[in-house]
């Protein structure tokens, strides 16, 4: 591996080329991302991402909240996948405190995480297709996302920021009949996935817009720190659920879809497959939810012993890691650090867009699936 | 005054021709000079069409078709030269386009 970071001074653009600002108010930057593009004609020579527009200091804030309050701050990071954020945080604290989570809670957590993955991927699919101009897919995907949100609403009362988990387990048990609804949603979703694929997968224009766009090899993707579908699209078999299993993933069967060419189309196909794998996981997990308590043995005052740990889960966007330091004395974490997958994936944008056309920039922003709430925190 | 004869068209043509010549001689922006040449060609065309109508001879119109074809060719090549020149010298001022190489 001879990867060296490209050495360019991104702020000093020549006057000869056209420099345009994409964002922060732009319909396809998925929030307040600003990309300063240096163009030669319509070809991108250099790109510089300017982020931080919605930096709310969640890490700093969390260091001044107690351990339970932080859960609802994590909701606000990747706000389209709040449940996985909750899950990652709770598991990190559980790891720090060595709390055993009951099996029932772990299964339900798995169901929630996978439902969340479907919802997040729905949003990704819709906006990605919209960026490339297929606007009907957006409405279809959002329609199915609503079903997931309905399920979450029935489970925890919220539709976006769920606050759905607690350190040591879950705040509430699943409502009666909820599991059957989840199963019927799985059946529905499988049919709808075929609809999406009919519209896109073999569409010539879609193929032209995504094949060979933003190609990145496996080694380079690893070096750039890509994670989640962008990494797997380059053929790297890296999935935290498989490699470092958490919740109930070690007891369930699923495949990790891998790409071969590492282009936008592969990343699309992978996410479409992940939909199916998620449905498969949900089916297994719902069928297998054991009886039992939903909360482990958690002390009344949560105060982990002094120590630090890093724990990662596979969020819909990629490896979501939490690095938490406890000083063992106060009721809040001494250091709370999130390793946001969108942040690390967005870092690869510059590499992906260089040499492509402006129109591909929006396709590539779409394909790495960022949520600015998580990038900026 | 009220009866329009080919003479009127010819005079109009001559006036437009003169405007074009002034443009060529006075302006320094190469693109404007090219446009003035188009004006001159149009002046000629007006004359040709008017005489074609007067003489009931289609040859005039045929010539106009050729003139338009030549004008298209001229515009394509001329503007290509301007673009190539601008790319190298960053100017379209005729006074600065006097050297034969760059």
């Amino acid at each position: 591996m001879t990867l060296e970071a490209p050495r360019t001074s991104a702020t000093q653009f020549d006057t000869d080329e056209l420099v345009i600002n994409m964002g922060p108010q732009h319909p396809s930057t998925h929030g307040v991302l600003r990309v300063v593009l240096k163009l030669d004609g319509e070809r991108v020579i250099d790109a510089d991402c300017v982020i931080g527009y919605i930096h709310r200091g969640i890490e700093k804030l969390s260091e001044n909240r107690d351990w339970t309050q932080i859960i609802l701050l994590t909701d606000r990071m990747d706000y389209v996948a709040a449940a996985t954020n909750n899950l990652g945080y709770c598991q990190t604290v559980e790891k720090l405190m060595q709390i055993e989570v009951p099996r029932r809670a772990r299964y339900i957590r798995t169901v929630l995480a996978e439902l969340q993955r479907i919802a997040s991927h729905c949003l990704w699919l819709g906006t990605h297709a919209m960026d490339i101009g297929a606007m009907t897919v957006l409405l279809y995907a959002f329609r199915e996302r609503e079903f997931v949100l309905d399920l979450f609403e029935e489970f925890c009362g919220a539709r976006l920021t769920y606050n759905a988990m607690r350190i040591g387990g879950l705040p509430l048990d699943i409502p009666p009949g909820w599991d059957r609804k989840v199963l019927s949603f799985c059946d529905l979703m499988e049919g709808k996935l075929n609809d999406y694929e009919t519209l896109l997968t073999n569409n010539r224009i879609w193929l032209k817009r995504t094949r060979g766009v933003g190609v990145i090899g496996g080694d380079e993707a690893i070096g750039l720190g890509l994670c989640g579908p962008p990494l797997r699209g380059s053929g790297v078999p890296r999935d935290v659920r498989k490699d470092e299993p958490y919740a109930a993933y070690d007891e369930l069967e699923f495949n990790v879809p891998l790409g071969t060419r590492g282009d936008t189309y592969d990343r699309y196909l992978i996410r479409m497959d992940e939909f199916r794998e998620s449905i498969r996981l949900i089916r297994q997990a719902v069928e297998g939810i054991p009886e039992g308590p939903i909360m482990g043995k958690v002390p009344r005052l949560i105060k982990p012993p002094a120590g630090e740990t890093y724990h990662a889960i596979e969020s819909p966007k990629g490896e979501l890691g939490y690095f938490i330091v406890s000083d063992g004395k106060s009721t809040n974490p001494y250091r709370f650090r999130v390793r946001p997958p969108s942040f690390c994936n967005l870092q690869g944008l510059k590499r992906l867009v260089t040499g492509h056309l402006v129109a591909d920039v929006v396709a590539l922003i779409g394909t790495i699936d960022i949520v600015l709430g998580e990038v900026d925190r | 005054m009220l009866e329009i004869t080919p003479l009127h068209y010819s005079l109009l043509s001559a006036a437009l021709f003169m405007i074009g010549v002034i443009g060529v001689l006075v302006r320094r922006n190469v693109i404007i000079i090219f446009m003035s040449i188009e004006l001159i060609l149009n002046a000629v065309n007006i004359n040709l069409i008017a005489l074609s109508d007067q003489l009931q001879d289609l040859a005039g119109q045929v010539f106009v078709v050729f003139v338009i074809a030549v004008a298209a060719a001229e515009a394509a090549v001329g503007l290509g030269i301007i673009i190539a020149f601008y790319r190298n010298k960053e100017t379209v001022n005729i006074d600065e386009i006097q050297i034969m190489r760059w």
């Binding site: 970071a5 982020i51 700093k60 000083d327 250091r335 390793r339 | -």
Partner: protein
């Protein structure tokens, strides 16, 4: 042009901060301006009027201590990756720690790059993936920063954390040359902590606006305050807020605001 818009963004960022800080709506902007000019005594009435939630002089609050980096329990087998590192780069590893399943090596800052290169290239370690670069701030300590690198090997499926302890001015070699992934992560560490990272190709602020002063994740940085003051000079803001103490900026300033 880029800079111009950038500064615009900075102003936006300032506006986003809750301006109604401690002095409340009673303190007009003019007074804040005055306070910014470090006319400390003149500010006394304003600060005195402010009801203080807790009396301050409750003895200096004991500065938090960093966890001890527990050594692995006796008889625990040192994994191959750590052993290889200890053999491969002799003398660089100051300490090996094991806690809740995670292995951490504490490394001498000047040997950091050697260690990292070994970790990346050696067959027994093969840490080709840089998960995270972050830091923690332990103010009273001489070497106040822990800079933490979370590495992962996609081939051997193993994790390790590398930690260096550095002071405010001590240089930390950038690992961007080894893992391009570290680029933004190190920028964030620089932005949020002010760790002196050297040889980074493009060391700029990343989350905070370009002209922001101070490093928000440091423990002596206030949790809240008027945005425009924080942006330009957080230390001034601290001084205004803690007038009776006038102890200057320090870790004591934090903590009780909530």
């Amino acid at each position: 042009m880029a800079d111009e818009t950038r500064s615009q963004a900075g102003k936006d960022g300032a506006d986003r901060q809750p301006a109604a800080g401690v002095a409340g709506s009673a303190a007009p902007a003019a007074k804040r301006e005055a306070g910014k000019k470090s006319a400390a005594p003149a500010k006394a009435p304003a600060a005195a009027a402010k009801p203080r939630p807790k009396p301050k002089p409750k003895a200096p609050p004991e500065p938090p201590k960093a966890p001890e980096d527990q050594a692995p329990p006796d008889g625990m087998e040192i994994p191959a990756m750590v052993a290889a590192l200890q053999n491969g780069v002799s003398g660089a590893v100051l300490k090996v720690s094991f806690w809740v399943g995670d292995w951490t090596v504490i490394v001498a800052p000047d040997r950091l790059l050697d260690v990292m290169r070994f970790l990346r290239d050696d067959a027994a370690t093969a840490f080709d993936y840089c998960s995270d670069v972050t830091a923690a701030d332990w103010p009273p300590r001489e070497k106040r920063f822990d800079v933490v690198y979370c590495l992962y090997s996609t081939r051997l499926r193993q994790r390790i954390r590398v930690k260096v302890r550095v002071g405010e001015e001590d240089p930390v070699e950038s690992v961007t040359g080894l893992w391009p992934a570290a680029d933004w992560l190190e920028r964030e560490v620089f932005d949020q902590f002010g760790v002196n990272i050297v040889n980074h190709p493009n060391l700029r602020r990343i989350l905070m606006p370009e002209q922001w002063q101070g490093h928000p994740q440091r423990k002596d940085y206030p949790l809240e305050g008027p945005g425009e003051l924080l942006m330009e000079n957080p230390q001034d803001w601290l001084r205004v807020r803690n007038l009776p103490d006038e102890a200057g900026p320090g870790p004591a300033a934090d903590g009780e605001i909530e």
